[in-house]
């Protein structure tokens, strides 16, 4: 608690420590990104509304995952990455904050489930212990697992190793783990691509249930999934944002012809 307040006064950013955090909006202002000489993102301008589920769709290699990893500053781990432009989290630039603090507010679920080789309970509590917050661990574990619809399945096996779960359960565990630190934004990078249909359905139900609590940005290859779960859809092609609007509008009556071609399946 004290540590967070001290960070806060150093950076001047208002980071609330309240467990009931409000979801935040994310704005991208002319974001450009190069890896070495290849320009991956060519000037993206958009706003992800607070509390809603936004999907980013597009063919392979158009920069969706790179865009997502910019938001929590994981793309900068590669040494040849150069970024221009700005990303605002609730009107504050994320480049002015310590990346660590940023990542406590912006959580991420990866494409392949990657639970730590520890017990289920330790996986959930990892983020909290890493950031030094004092919370009631039982309550946190129960809340997170309930939000990910795992509490009934796992409440009797909290001390088992996380590697003994099935792939679908592992991915939902990763989701619960990222929710345990109470972020305001959750980024999901093709979360269901490694899962079978039943686990996918369970995961999607959890995502939809968290609609007003967190801002969720889902990158997906699967257009049907985007249609099922999201409020807003962004279509990206070759590093540019082609169209951004409500789900129904994009899928039934898109403005741009490129969007229409992609939806029909003329290219993919």
């Amino acid at each position: 608690m004290r540590e967070v307040i001290r960070e806060q006064s150093e950076t001047g950013i208002n980071i609330s420590n309240d467990k009931q955090v409000m979801p935040s909006a994310i704005s991208l202002n002319d974001l450009r990104l190069c890896f070495g000489k290849a320009e991956i993102l060519k000037g993206i301008n958009m706003t992800f509304p607070a509390g809603k589920i936004t999907s980013i769709i597009g063919p392979s290699g158009c920069g969706k995952t790179t865009l997502l990893r910019c938001i929590n500053r994981l793309s900068e781990l590669a040494t040849t990455c150069k970024i221009r432009g700005d990303i605002l989290l609730n009107n504050e630039s994320i480049y002015q904050i310590d990346p660590m603090l940023l990542r406590r507010k912006v959580g991420m679920v990866f494409q392949r489930p990657n639970p730590f080789p520890k017990s289920i309970k330790e996986n959930i509590l990892y983020g909290i212990k890493a950031t030094g917050l004092k919370v009631n661990s039982e309550e946190v574990v129960q809340n997170s697992l309930t939000q990910a619809a795992l509490w009934d399945e796992l409440k009797s096996r909290l001390d088992d190793s996380a590697m003994s779960l099935s792939i679908g359960q592992q991915q939902r565990l990763c989701f619960a783990r990222s929710l345990a630190v109470s972020p305001s934004v959750v980024l999901l990078d093709e979360p269901a691509s490694a899962l079978d249909p039943i686990s996918t359905a369970k995961l999607e139900t959890s995502i939809v249930k968290m609609r007003d609590k967190y801002t969720q940005i889902v990158v997906t290859h699967n257009m049907q999934e985007a249609r099922r779960i999201s409020d807003k859809v962004a279509f990206m092609y070759l590093g540019e944002l082609v169209e951004f609007g409500d789900t129904d509008k994009i899928f039934e009556d898109p403005d741009k012809p490129a969007t229409k071609d992609y939806i029909i399946g003329k290219f993919g």
Binding site: R73, E76, C81, Y95, Q96
Partner: protein
């Protein structure tokens, strides 16, 4: 509110503070710990170089074969690279040529690696490709167990191997001349051959797991492609797997050669400090002491009371020669790796 569009480098703007520096203590600690081996290495090399001083400064003398003493100013490089040498235990003093020692090292390494490399390669092939069920895995554990035997044991038991393998083949039956022969001569028991054999026994359990890993690292797709075309396993092994494993095999070979070159105990005990070049210079049935054994002899042998300061300095020269040879082997191996990388590489890089 938008910020200025400027070019942002990788490690972005977090305000520096004393708190940050204190937080990075693990990195500083690891840096300090990591520097220590570097300091040790520099200390060893500097120490060796410094102690070779007397070679270039101390007045010495020279005895030629008539027993006449010549006074010389110092031994110098010319003296080092001559071919006569004497230690505290042999007769005439004053000769400090190291050429026999260098040649001894080369000969010994050739003999030892010549025996060890094929055997280790076959063991690796046996445990990775041509396994007989559990025997292949058992070979790996057996090699692990054998690699734990310290070299002093081989030095202790060399007589056993000598009487078992060498003596029947290179000596007449028993130690007496055979009937009817009035003259005979046979190899002494401390020949380079026996030193090479004991050294190869030390190296085989060390080399075989390295070769085994190199062969196992070849991707399965190569072997499957070859077998799918109808080739036999042996053909696949020779023409596909071994070339693809070339870089791993070469680096294992380098480690083996370095170990053979640097080993002191086995050669000191088996070849002792015999120091003349045998008559055909490649005669492995006569002894010729490598650099390590010569160095031990010069540094006083087995007791500190017999240390001759000039001999001690020459021992340092021997050690430096060993260091130079070791680096030469490493550089040679790096060059070879680069040359054959395109031809044999399976990474596509």
């Amino acid at each position: 509110m938008t910020t200025k569009l400027n070019f942002k480098p990788l490690k972005l703007l977090t305000p520096p503070s004393p708190r940050r520096l204190i937080k990075s203590w693990p990195k500083v600690l690891c840096f300090i710990l990591a520097i220590i081996p570097l300091i040790m290495l520099c200390f060893v090399i500097v120490n060796l170089v410094v102690h070779t001083g007397p070679v270039f400064r101390q007045p010495s003398y020279d005895v030629n074969h008539d027993g006449i003493i010549n006074n010389k100013d110092y031994v110098g490089l010319k003296g080092i690279f001559s071919t006569k040498i004497s230690t505290a235990l042999t007769g005439n003093k004053g000769q400090y040529g190291l050429i026999p020692a260098i040649w001894g090292t080369i000969l010994l390494v050739i003999v030892a690696m010549g025996i060890a490399t094929p055997v280790a390669l076959l063991m690796a092939i046996f445990s990775s490709e041509f396994t007989l069920g559990f025997l292949g895995r058992g070979m790996r554990t057996l090699l692990g167990v054998l690699s734990g035997i310290p070299p002093i044991i081989y030095a202790l038991m060399w007589i056993v191997i000598f009487t078992a393998i060498i003596a029947p083949n290179f000596r007449p039956d028993g130690l007496n001349p055979p009937a009817g022969m009035t003259w005979w001569f046979s190899p002494p028991p401390n020949s380079t051959l026996i030193g090479g054999i004991m050294l190869s026994l030390l190296i085989i359990p060390f080399l075989a797991p390295l070769f085994d890993d190199a062969i196992k690292n070849v991707p399965n797709s190569f072997k499957e492609a070859s077998l799918g075309l109808g080739a036999t396993r042996w053909y696949t092994l020779i023409n596909v797997t071994l070339p693809a494993a070339f870089s791993g095999l070469l680096s294992g070979l380098r480690l083996g050669v370095l170990k053979a070159m640097g080993d002191v105990i086995i050669v000191t005990a088996t070849i002792a400090v015999e120091t003349n070049i045998p008559n055909p210079f490649f005669d492995i049935l006569r002894p010729i002491a490598p650099l390590t054994a010569t160095g031990v002899g010069l540094a006083g042998g087995f007791s500190q009371s017999m240390i001759d300061p000039l001999g001690y300095a020459v021992a340092n020269v021997a050690a430096i020669l060993l260091v130079i040879m070791a680096f030469a082997i490493i550089i040679l191996e790096t060059l070879l790796q680069r040359k054959f990388k395109k031809r044999f590489s399976h990474d596509g890089r």
